[in-house]
Symmetry: C2
């Protein structure tokens, strides 16, 4: 060992000991006769002291140390005269006898501090330096701790960790697969799994009863802000269970993590909200319940009004922003711009200000008298001083827009407290949704999700109305995980493939082995998968998953540190039996 102690562990009780530390130079301060060096490792920072009078040689060497030099220092632990109560090691310092430079360092391209002066791109390129910073070390420690805690909790409850394969068969349904050309089977490809879905179901067929794995998954999608081509799931499956068994088990896991990691306790059960209610009240299937501001349906209230945009709308709904009656023209204009953004797509924003002096001001005052506007206040619960914001249009789209507007108002009014956590289950999702473009139904979760038993007859008549035995765990507006009870009956699975428009051949080619497996005694089963990156970032108080991943990729799917992906040589292409054809670009 190059050290006897770490830089985080020496205390006043160690005074008088001769010890050896090793680590990185955080900073040096030169006060003429004395030179101080802050020595850093993963465990903390300890102050080293060099004295020009007693040992000029070592002191001169210390003065030449640059930031991030790797050194080893042996010396005496001494009580500090000038204690630093902000550091665990702040009561002591080391009078260094012997200093060794283990490795010098070039000056880093940005500061290795709590807040760095480096830009995003530069820090990504030098990720190994960025990762020295305390925030990233905290994030990765948190991730480590959560991973151990998850496995330990599930292990105690009889879950078996089984490693499922990374090179599997390509069965795309939804996102694109990444593929791996096979050299031994030229012209054929493996796929990287979007999830171990089929394998975990097979494990249930195999009688493993309870399965868990923290596992990498892959999706070749055009990357939006907070997506990574490879990401990590906590993947679980249970046999002989119904929906509530799964919710109870994983509500237990969530509570355990909250308690063990954040010391947050939830005495009662998590709320359980049907999908339809979540959409109607919050305009979202992942409502942030840290604040109210529910959506009120005003459609009935405007019947027969003279404003065509309202009179002809399929749906009209509003939210009440408390204390915002004094919003300026500029603020209202900004909100209007916000809802008109293409991602949100509202045509315009209607407002009613219920002023504290009892007056009412509205963008639709021409079309509604004060009594009508007071009537809206009554339904929506708007009080004096409040601002009523209204959108009109197609029902689903308008609800989603209202949901976005609600979140925006939550941000503006600081209603999203990072230290407050409101978890809930969203249940009763639709089973399938119709796609106008391809004229077929798509599975909302995946093709193995079981319909509610009482809805099965509707599969033949109106599949869009069928509810699934599916559930999401949502915390603070973030979908942390989701799952479903699976179809375990091969007849029902076949019917489901029909609804999704798969021919027998397609179903057989893609999922044949699973359908076959189900013929040999499949137990009732269901499961759930959690987005581990997201869960860690939620607990870390971050908005992005990037900084809870050691070596993330950028929005072009590139690792700018490695400069990957890269070219491979012609010999290897030939062995793989493929040729690059990029002429049409």
């Amino acid at each position: 060992m190059y050290r006897t102690h770490t830089c985080g562990e020496l205390r006043i009780s160690d005074a008088g000991k001769v010890i050896t530390l090793a680590g990185w130079v955080q900073k040096t301060r030169d006060f003429g006769g004395m030179t101080f060096v802050d020595l850093r490792d993963r465990y903390g920072i300890t102050q080293l002291v060099f004295n020009m009078e007693t040992d000029a040689g070592q002191c001169k060497l210390a003065r030449e140390l640059g930031r991030e030099f790797v050194i080893r220092a042996t010396g005496l632990v001494a009580e500090r005269s000038n204690k630093n109560p902000n550091m665990p090691t702040g009561d002591i310092e080391i009078f260094v006898d012997t200093l060794h430079i283990l490795n010098p360092a070039e000056t880093p391209p940005f500061t290795i501090e709590e807040n760095s002066d480096g830009g995003d791109e530069l820090r990504m390129k030098y990720r190994y330096l960025d990762m020295r910073r305390a925030p990233l070390q905290r994030n990765l420690m948190l991730r480590h701790r959560m991973a151990q805690s998850v496995r330990h909790y599930l292990d105690l409850r009889g879950f078996i960790e089984v490693e499922t394969p990374v090179m599997i068969k390509s069965t795309p349904e939804g996102a694109r697969d990444f593929v791996v050309p096979s050299r031994m089977n030229q012209g054929q490809f493996y796929a990287l799994p979007q999830s171990p879905q089929m394998f975990k179901q097979l494990l249930m067929v195999s009688g493993y009863d309870r399965y868990m794995q923290i596992v990498k998954c892959f999706r070749d999608e055009d990357l939006r802000a907070d997506r990574q081509p490879e990401f990590t799931q906590i993947d679980c499956e249970m046999a002989f269970v119904e929906q509530d068994d799964i919710l109870n088990t994983f509500e237990g896991l969530a509570k355990h993590l909250f308690k063990e990691i954040l010391n947050v306790e939830f005495p009662g059960k998590f709320a359980k909200i049907p999908y339809e209610q979540a959409m109607t009240e919050y305009g979202s299937d992942k409502p942030d319940l840290r604040f109210g501001m529910k959506i009120t349906d005003l459609t009935e209230k405007v019947v027969g009004c003279g404003l065509s945009v309202m009179a002809e709308a399929e749906y009209i709904g509003g939210i009440v922003a408390t204390g915002c009656a004094d919003y300026s023209r500029k603020q209202i204009d900004d909100l209007t711009e916000f809802v008109k953004k293409p991602q949100i797509g509202a045509k315009g924003l209607i407002y009613v200000k219920y002023n504290t002096d009892g007056t009412i001001k509205s963008s639709v005052a021409k079309f509604f008298d004060a009594a009508a506007l007071r009537g809206w206040a009554e339904v929506t619960g708007a009080k004096a001083g409040n601002l009523l914001l209204i959108l009109a249009g197609k029902r689903d789209k308008t609800l989603k827009a209202l949901g976005e507007l609600r979140l925006e108002m939550g941000r503006q009014l600081n209603l999203m407290d990072k230290n407050k956590y409101i978890p809930l289950w969203v249940v009763d999702f639709p089973l399938v949704e119709w796609d106008e473009e391809t004229k077929r139904f798509y599975a909302i979760h995946h093709p193995f999700t079981a319909p509610k038993p009482e809805h099965i007859p509707m599969l033949d008549i109106d599949p869009g109305k069928v509810h699934a035995n599916a559930y999401d765990l949502v915390i603070n507006g973030i979908e942390i995980g989701g799952g479903s009870i699976r179809i375990h009956d091969s007849g029902l699975q076949k019917k489901m493939f029909e609804v999704l428009g798969f021919t027998d051949e397609q179903a057989q080619y893609r999922f044949g082995f699973l359908m076959n497996a189900f013929k040999y005694g499949a137990p009732p089963h269901g499961g759930i998968a959690f987005g581990f990156d997201r869960w860690v970032s939620l607990f870390a108080g971050l908005n992005s998953i990037r900084d809870v991943i050691a070596f993330p990729k950028n929005n072009q799917g590139r690792d700018v540190m490695q400069d990957s992906p890269g070219i491979i040589d012609d010999e290897q292409l030939k062995e793989l039996g493929i040729r690059i054809v990029t002429s049409d670009k």
Copy 2:
């Protein structure tokens, strides 16, 4: 829940309870008035009883149950009159009130028993059925338990689990990479990691100090008997350590696993044997020390003899097989065939039988007198009744052949007790080896392995003689893991790349980011990686890793259950910018 208890937990103390079980029908026995059903789940087997007199309906239903039907049964726990002491639940049975068939099953293509009647290929195709068998369930439970135990042990010792990326840059050195064409960066490829080697070294540069991960690795090799294209490593790295720190830490891990999993204790330290000694004494860099039978160098003993094959040999060595002096002509012929196999490549086998009656019989009696042959016995320690087996030829090749012959004799003489474990460290490996074909040196471990400090000057003169700070953990002749102290000095790393014949551009393209990282303060560090599949199979008492992997691939790299790899459609190929070119096949 579909059950109140599992099929493994009911005991005599539960008699009188009404319970519900769910599981698979192991077998049914029909005795006219009574029908017995053995119900199986992961946890055990419980006997269900149906009585024709008291409930003819349920009993008739029970009679129709086929093997592997999934059922649920509710009934009364009762003491058995005819107890089965071989089953934990053997004291009780269930008088079933209500039987539900949850899912019928077609007759499985082979028996789901401890020993199945199915052939290898059939069982691979129906892997999900094979995995129901108790041996596979035991193997996967063992794997689960070992994984938890490894992480727990390392977690307690400050190791952080960090997930390294699966899609990385292709930097082949040694085995071929699997590659993943990038859609967003057409013409470029990611590679799947052969190991997270560079990432774990970067983590040390980043100050993470102690890293661990149980991680999938990938090698596109022509598959030998016991290789898988994807396999699992226990991957670890430590900073500020020397070789002995790593050996001590992971000897601790190994002892912990032996104790916790197998209840085997090792009081002393593991033996530490230099590579050169292992080769000289056992003809192997992974000697099986469960038995002796060391190789003796006889080269000096035959100087000037009249037999050209011996007189001209660079090296002559022998092993003594105890009690084999009475080997028949046929047995000796078989051994001769064995050493002449192309994989072993000896030219022939020389033997000396030291008979119990004091006579000596040898294939080279013509060339050596009895005194000479007695002299050999003296050096080799051969006693009356023993058989001395001798090979001659080039030194390295002959030693390896003797090593193989030693193992063969160990097998024939039953010296390899599966319940005996002898772990040891092999140390002081050569750093590089010369390849005649490509006329360059190759790294024995990998290009980041540090030479012994005292050997560094020899890098310029005679690289082949340089020893590495590298080590393997060997148990019972199986290399369970290996690692090294890494080069942390960029100057020395550059020199190493020169020795390996990399141009500056090649080194920069492949490892540039690592060499750059080392400029910013790399700590001394080293690590180790264990073959997790092999370790589990060793503990399971298996010769192959296939049955400790849930969904393995066959020798052609195919998953015959999924029928993977498979074709992908033209649209996807076009998006990836590649074309299949297999015309030359």
